[in-house]
Point group: C2
DNA sequence: ACAATATTTAGATGATTAGCTAATCATCTA
DNA sequence: TAGATGATTAGCTAATCATCTAAATATTGT
């Protein structure tokens, strides 16, 4: 869980996760949303991968990143519960619900 | 909100917040729970203060730290909502509810 | 006033991090 | 087989971070 919080501590990475909420996206397309170099973004992807927050799937010469919502949810839940907060998935608002993230 | 996530990215600081959940505590007593020097802990307190997650009140020669639950809650809520997650305070489990945290 | 106690500040150090450019690897297509 | 494309790795720098010891500040009690 520490890796998840470390990963979430950078605003660029948090925004990557948000972009992935709408659905899987290629590394390059993802990188185009940020004002930093592609190698820098690749490093960010590595941190997110290492934390288990995203999954990479190679598709030809592109790499598709997909949000692993369940990992984010569980980390957040574990932490929130320790403070008497309760987290639940709001099905109405949930996008990217193709079930492939577990 | 970035400062909050930065503050939460360190396990020592997360545990400080958890300890404070049971109620306000002096800096020294708090520090006794960790295997690092007091100046190091003082720096951690500074980060938490800067993020607005705790409040310091000087009482004689001790400094009492208090968790500002509402700040933690709002940061977590703001983030969770962006992912279709819903956070709410679980009144049953809520400790430290002396209302002095806002 | 002095000594003890509680905490923070100052200053240094080693580790990690985010960023860059240049180079490499893998894949596709002409 | 070349060239082009998408992404990562290598190697570097500058900045931030967690930690330490020693010193300073503030407060209390004798």
């Amino acid at each position: 869980m520490n890796k998840v919080f470390k990963a979430l501590s950078d605003p660029t990475r948090r925004r990557v996760l948000q972009l992935l909420r709408a659905g899987p996206m290629a590394a390059g397309e993802l990188a185009d949303h940020f004002p930093v170099s592609k190698p820098t973004m690749s490093a960010h992807f590595g941190v997110l991968r290492d934390a288990g927050l995203v999954e990479a799937e190679k598709n030809g010469r592109t790499v598709i990143y997909r949000l692993k919502m369940s990992v984010l949810e569980e980390a957040l839940m574990g932490f929130a519960q320790a403070f008497g907060l309760h987290i639940e998935l709001d099905e109405a608002t949930a996008l990217a619900g193709d079930g492939k993230d577990t």
